[in-house]
């Protein structure tokens, strides 16, 4: 049976700055993924597939598309009389009102919401991750260990350990040490940002942490270390062995989308017993014309393919006209690729129009002139609603901002590493 006394909180307020133009207009959990989904769909679907029907979604950064997407939760069967999904934005109170200062503070500000349901356990999740996980497994584990908190974790390559919270456990999997994004990691057991807590326990800690002027009110930076080093309770590590990905960078976003086109991808979208639900526009099936070639690709509903598509993910309602060649790219909803364009290694956001005979992904890689911390791969990124002029040639690692119009292009040849942003900003 499912656990009945659980409330899930999904932290969905982050911007995801390393996704660059993809998250300039929308929060990272709302970024489209896998042909028809948005990133948060995976966590929401995991919840309902695990029988958790009381979910709070904590939003902050650019929440409009996210809120519209979730709505009353109908696609996830979360339009319920009791529980269901509730969007929890920061709010004004009589004494204090504030933005969410950190992940822990976000939960602290919603203590009343959780208390309304008086749950035994809370599951704290992130809306930024793509994975399939039955939360009953970690809940069972948590209960069997009689833990105060349990953190899902996974072994990662040592060189990547610096990006994660790293846990050192004893032989019984109790966490004895925690390093948040360490320069010199002592291990490779990484936190996946999935926590189970006894609610009474967590509530007490959150209230205390809130009073601490030195705290940044973050789970990884403050709450977890405090519990371990001040011996406030028992935290256990739950080892997760499935597919889990934080699509935090443009490269990893692009890779994990393209991974889905391989013969047996680690994330199975086609499992009838673990479906992923989403809110999408009603569209007819995809049409593949006589002139088309489609190989190793996902092509979503409403798309019309007349050109050639290789190793790519095509979202809903995309038009790929004659003579177009698309390779290793992600093309989002309702984008139009006009006749004769050539596109390679690109991520193209929603409602973009690529002009006739345009070439994208030409030439040698060069460091980005815009922001090399964000744009540091061969991938060219085009923001939503952009218009690329006919016959334009774009290099590798090029950035085209959202809402760029043809007239924003001072020249047709945009070299690798260069960028074009909308002039109206």
């Amino acid at each position: 049976m499912f656990h009945q006394n659980v409330v899930a909180l999904i932290l969905a307020g982050g911007q995801g700055t390393r996704l660059g133009v993809l998250t300039e207009r929308i929060a990272k959990p709302a970024v489209p993924f896998g042909g028809k989904f948005r990133i948060i769909d995976f966590t929401m679907s995991n919840c309902v597939n695990s029988g958790i029907y009381t979910i709070g979604v904590l939003t902050q950064y650019r929440p409009h598309i996210l809120s519209k997407h979730i709505g009353i939760g109908k696609p996830w069967d979360l339009d319920r009389k009791d529980g269901g999904v509730v969007i929890l934005p920061p709010y004004q109170g009589s004494k204090e009102s504030d933005w969410y200062k950190g992940t822990a503070n976000a939960v602290y500000q919603n203590i009343e919401f959780v208390d309304m349901y008086d749950p035994e356990y809370v599951v704290i999740l992130s809306g930024d991750h793509v994975y399939a996980m039955d939360y009953n497994d970690i809940l069972d584990y948590h209960i069997s260990k009689d833990a105060d908190g349990t953190i899902a974790c996974m072994e990662v390559p040592l060189e990547e350990a610096r990006r994660f919270g790293i846990m050192i456990t004893d032989i019984d999997n109790e966490i004895v040490e925690f390093q948040e994004k360490p320069k010199e990691p002592k291990g490779n057991l990484a936190s996946l940002g999935i926590y189970v807590f006894n609610w009474k326990f967590l509530k007490k800690i959150l209230i205390e942490d809130e009073k601490d002027p030195n705290s940044s009110h973050d789970f990884g930076k403050d709450i977890i270390p405090k519990i371990i080093y001040n011996d406030l309770g028992k935290l256990y590590a739950f080892r997760f062995e499935g597919y889990w990905k934080d699509v935090g960078t443009i490269k990893s976003y692009w890779e994990s989308n393209l991974e889905l086109t391989r013969p047996l991808p680690p994330l199975n979208l086609y499992d009838p017993n673990w479906k992923f639900y989403t809110q999408t526009e009603e569209m007819p099936p995809a049409f593949v014309a006589k002139s088309a070639i489609v190989e190793n690709s996902l092509v979503s509903e409403g798309s019309e393919i007349e050109g050639q598509v290789f190793d790519s993910v095509i979202f809903q309602g995309v038009k790929v006209e004659r003579g177009v060649v698309i390779k290793n790219s992600v093309i989002m909803t309702k984008t139009v690729i006009k006749e004769g364009s050539k596109i390679e290694n690109a991520v193209i956001a929603e409602n973009v129009v690529i002009g006739k005979g345009a070439v994208i992904g030409e030439g040698e890689y060069k460091e980005s002139l815009l922001d090399p911390r964000i744009y540091n791969s061969e991938i060219t990124v085009i923001g939503m609603n952009a218009r690329i002029p006919d016959e334009a040639v774009l290099g590798k690692n090029v950035v085209i901002g959202h809402d760029v119009k043809e007239k924003d292009f001072e020249k047709l040849n945009i070299e690798s590493g260069e960028f074009v942003l909308s002039n109206r900003e």
């Binding site: 028809k36 099936p285 995809a286 049409f287 190793n296 996902l298």
Partner: protein, 370 residues
Amino acid sequence: MKVLGLILAGGKSDHLGVLTSKRASAAMPIFGKYRAIDFTLSNMVNSGIVKVGVLTQYNPRSLMDHLGSGKEWDLDRKNGGLFILQPYVSPEGSYWYKGTADAIYQNMTLLRRGEEDFVLIGSGDHIYKIDFGDVFRFHFHKGADVTLIVKDLDESYDLTRYGIVQMDETGRIHNIEEKPKNPQGETAFLGIYFINKYLLMDLLYSFVPTGATDLLLDVIMPNLRKLKVYGYKFDGYWRNIKKSVYEYYRTNMDILNEGVRKELFYKNGKVYTKLKDLPPPKFTGTAVVENSLISDGTIITGRVKNSVVFRGVKIRAGAIVENSIVMEGTVIEEGAVVYNAILDKESIVREEKKIIGDKEILVFEKRAVI
């Protein structure tokens, strides 16, 4: 002005064979993800009709499952919404619907209680997109009692299977010949009526108790002199899939034509249907797909040409599917060949098996194993 929509979806088709052995023809799957009734239902909803009654009788399970509470069409409402009208048992006895007029007569309560002034009667078997607003305006403009939607049919339709109407230059209908051996003219009645509700009630109260069963033959046709019956000429795409297996097949194949696709999928609003929450279709490295409609949840590893492939279909490596309709959940195994065939839902074509139809389309029943 409010309009009540009625959809006749009870008929058994004598012409679709095994395809309708377990479902009403209005529930026939079409174009990869839809059911036939989606078109008439979406037309009504897109034209602003918010109360729709669906008259069912023949094997309605699949139809009922599809319609559910009507939420996909925004018909799960406090006021109005979707009404499923089935034959029922009452203290006076139980009666199957004997015909269209009888079916509506037996559901007179819906007509009596509603606040609507007009009734639009359509059929669940018709594939077309229309703005019924144009029909309403025509009706008022002509001062008609009854407006019938008619269409000039070309030689691709078998005129001897339709009601052929004779209209004068004002559009008034003076004569209707049902399924004539020698059709006089090419303007056929499409089985869609627009009528004042109180007039319809009067007509039904007057004629049904004395034996009228069919709305056209027994109620409208005998009264063509007394009533002002006008024909609204529809010039868009329209097909009745119930007429024959070939008609059903051809209608599906028509969607591969860009013009038909634009008209049926995008003109006059969208087509709504029951959602299935499936991932996008996947084309693997060995897939070759040409001129085909491919639906969600499908995985293609083999070759597909000139075909309509429904949701959750698997076409495995080395399999060839051409000029065919492959319905939901069907699996075409390695090396199998399917030409000119209709495979109903959840069928399996085993490895290396060959199904070769020609002009005569081969039809395989639901859950067939070949």
